[in-house]
């Protein structure tokens, strides 16, 4: 690990100014990603600014009837919160399906959204990787790549975003609240992540020195009827091969009024399956509609030889998640 200076300011303005004013500075929250990056040589900050002393971990009601979750709230806190469990079950399920109890006790919401890909060639610095070193090439193109993208990849990079939380937030129309040195911004989660294109090193719209201060969940009718389904290589404590966050609002006639379907670990960012949502609207939520949504979810997939299985997995996982919501699975 390279040497770095450490600071733990007790107000947000000082923390933001410290990072914004130094191109080699970075924030740390739980440390469960950054410490690994520093050990592995993926990150070499000269100054680490600890957000841990700031009062940014509360979960509050918003005036609009939604919830505002502080960026420093630990994964466990959010998953255990009674309002989250009752009103946004997909969020609690996604958090509890992520990492391990120990990691969830340390990891924060802000840090979770900014975790980086688990592409093994990115993490192991002896492989060429455009995300670490633009122009070096992409080892996943020539090596085994069964963990990689079927949507949204580019010639430069086909890595997937590993967060479970971000997939649930996408299905809930969440907004990310940012504090910069000069001003605040609100960014819908759908616009927070970037596709790799020719710049795979840029993963979000976050500017250097900007801090995530909270995530806001709107009051949405579909939120209460929502599920998260994660498919892994072992029963627990593993990143997803494929995941699905689904939320459905049913009218009094039993027909789908509105739906959200988001997919995880299939694209460089959490992936909204709008065609699958459209396939549900106006229909009764039954096995036929669920199967149609599954088929629509994979339209336009561009798998590579090792990722073809993900297409089948997504199609079935979407249908199965809807079956759970509909109560016939």
């Amino acid at each position: 690990m390279h040497p770095f200076a450490y600071a733990r300011p007790d107000d947000l303005g000082t923390a933001v100014a410290a990072v914004a004013g130094d191109p080699a500075a970075t924030f740390i929250a739980g440390g469960t990603e950054l410490v690994n990056w520093m050990k592995d040589g993926i990150a070499r900050p000269a100054l680490v600014v600890d957000l841990g002393g700031l009062p940014l971990s509360a979960i509050d009601e918003t005036p609009e009837g939604g919830l505002r979750i502080g960026a420093l709230a630990r994964m466990r806190m959010v998953a255990e919160d009674a309002a989250v469990r009752a009103r946004y079950p997909v969020l609690a399920e996604a958090l509890e399906a992520g990492a391990s109890p120990q990691i969830r006790n340390a990891a924060t919401v802000g840090g979770n959204l900014l975790q980086r890909t688990r592409c093994p060639y990115f993490r192991e610095t002896s492989f060429p990787c455009n995300k670490r070193e633009l122009g070096a090439g992409c080892a996943a193109r020539t090596g085994p790549h069964h963990l990689h993208a079927v949507f949204g990849g580019s010639d430069a990079c086909i890595a997937v975003h590993p967060s479970d939380l971000a997939v649930a937030l996408l299905a809930l129309d969440a907004t990310v609240l940012l504090r910069g040195p000069a001003s605040d911004r609100r960014v819908p989660i759908d616009g927070f992540y970037l596709l790799p294109g020719e710049t795979p090193e840029r993963e979000t719209v976050l500017r250097h020195g900007e801090a995530i201060i909270a995530v806001e969940l709107p009051a949405a009718r579909f939120a209460a009827r929502s599920r998260y389904r994660k498919i892994r290589e072992r029963a627990s404590f593993a990143f997803a091969l494929v995941s699905v966050a689904a939320a459905v609002d049913l009218g009094d006639d039993g027909r789908v009024r509105e739906a959200r379907i988001a997919l995880g670990s299939v694209a460089p960012k959490p992936w909204r399956a709008r065609a699958a949502e459209a396939a549900l609207v106006g229909r009764m939520l039954d096995a036929e509609a669920a199967a149609a949504a599954g088929r629509a979810a994979v339209a336009g997939a561009a798998p590579l030889p090792d990722t073809a299985y993900k297409v089948t997995l997504v199609e079935r996982a979407v249908a199965r998640t809807l079956a759970e919501i509909g109560g016939w699975a």
Partner: protein
């Protein structure tokens, strides 16, 4: 050799730190790079917490920070100024092993023993969290602790025994079976 950055002394290249470890106040001066795990093992000679993967993947380094179980390899010691740390060395009371330790011995819940300190600390936290109401729940909530010797069935049995000896939570009523 990692490069020593002299210019960083303005921020304190060696950071002072106070920890309460297993009930004893300790004062340290550490390089900011030192993980909590290395501070415990190399700085305080508490070698119970083990370094398996050093990446958060195995749980061998599990300790309690202010009562919460965490991977001590994934966090910097300097982030915990003023914190209360409990390691496996701090579980026994007056020379009497913790009930979880007794149960691990009774159920032969180990083979090589490398993962055991992490398993035991994690299990103590799991019981406090109330996550030991069934074998399936124990398995899920112990998933952050890997055992290369695959002593899993005996680990689950040991935890189940302590959970049932402690009895169900008071709200469910009834005498302990």
């Amino acid at each position: 050799m990692p490069r020593r950055d002299e210019s960083s002394t303005a921020w304190g290249g060696r950071v002072p730190l106070a920890l309460r470890v297993n009930g004893v106040d300790r004062v340290l001066r550490l390089d900011s790079r030192v993980t909590l795990l290395d501070a415990l093992r190399d700085g305080l000679d508490l070698t119970g917490a083990k370094k398996g993967c050093d990446r958060g993947e195995c749980g061998a380094c599990t300790v309690l920070v202010d009562g919460r179980r965490v991977n001590s390899c994934l966090t910097l010691a300097v982030m915990h100024d003023g914190a209360e740390i409990t390691t496996v060395e701090g579980l026994a009371r007056d020379g009497v092993p913790h009930p979880v330790q007794e149960a691990f011995v009774e159920h032969d819940a180990l083979q090589c023993g490398f993962c055991t300190p992490g398993q035991v600390v994690s299990a103590v936290a799991l019981l406090a969290e109330g996550r030991a109401t069934s074998d399936a729940e124990i398995r899920e909530w112990m998933s952050g602790n890997l055992c290369r010797c695959a002593a899993y069935p005996n680990i689950v049995a040991a935890i189940r025994q302590v959970a049932s000896a402690e009895g169900p939570p008071p709200t469910t009523g009834g005498a302990a079976a």
